[in-house]
């Protein structure tokens, strides 16, 4: 299991590939891997976005990610999972979040991956502030984004 809040840009596909090859996933044991990558768009609510600052609640956010990971692992009998979430200053086209889950069959992988993402959007203690052309603004609740 890899759960990390990171303040540097990352390549999600390399992250998955490296983890899958080197981190204890037994070859031949998994039949399904579902992943989600959220990326910063350069456009939001009609405005051009130049940059975004993501903050979190150190201590609480890590604790939340561990809990949702454990819950998804047990509820969907997942074999393993990755959650990587950016914080700090993010440029358009940079990944914000990566969730990858491995399981024997596909339904568990899809459901587990989506449940983690819904939790991240609705409950994990992250906040976003966008830098537009001529102002900054806090992004309101991410539930429908």
């Amino acid at each position: 299991m890899l759960i990390e809040i990171r303040n540097q840009a990352f390549d999600p596909w390399q992250e998955i590939s490296r983890y899958q090859e080197n981190c204890g996933l037994v070859p031949g044991s998994y039949g399904a891997c579902a992943t989600f990558v959220g990326t910063l768009r350069d456009f939001n609510q009609g405005d051009k976005v130049k940059r975004m600052r993501l903050t979190h609640y150190p201590g609480m956010t890590e604790h939340q990610l561990s809990k949702i990971a454990e819950q998804a692992l047990s509820q969907y009998q997942l074999l393993d999972l990755i959650i990587v979430h950016r914080v700090g200053d993010i440029n358009p086209n940079e990944p914000i979040v990566l969730v990858a889950v491995w399981s024997a069959h596909r339904a568990a992988a899809f459901d587990g991956c989506r449940q983690i993402m819904e939790y991240l959007k609705s409950s994990a203690t992250f906040w976003k502030k966008e830098t537009l052309e001529s102002e900054q603004r806090w992004v309101s609740s991410g539930v429908n984004q």
């Binding site: 609640y57 604790h63 203690t125 609740s141």
Partner: protein, 81 residues
């Protein structure tokens, strides 16, 4: 009795601070102190609509009671992922 109080995101910007410590001397109430009362002690305004709070890194109810050493946090709706 000492309570650490933290504020995040737009709320910290509006209040002008992101952390306060409440100790027994500054607390006017008889115990037990609730999260709701902490807000009244540290902020000079009514709680904003949609205000969320956490107690020791778990989401909490404003009516929850506090004990010495607790960490209370106030923040606006979250937005991860």
């Amino acid at each position: 009795m000492s309570i650490t109080v933290r504020f995040f995101a737009s709320l910290a910007e509006e209040l002008g601070f992101d952390q306060k410590t409440l100790d027994r001397k500054t607390v006017a109430h008889k115990s037990p102190l609730t999260i709701e009362e902490v807000w009244r002690e540290v902020a000079d305004r009514p709680p904003p609509e949609n205000l969320l709070c956490a107690l020791n890194h778990e989401y909490a109810d404003f009516k929850q009671h506090l004990k010495d050493g607790d960490e209370v946090a106030f923040f606006p709706p979250v937005n991860g992922g």
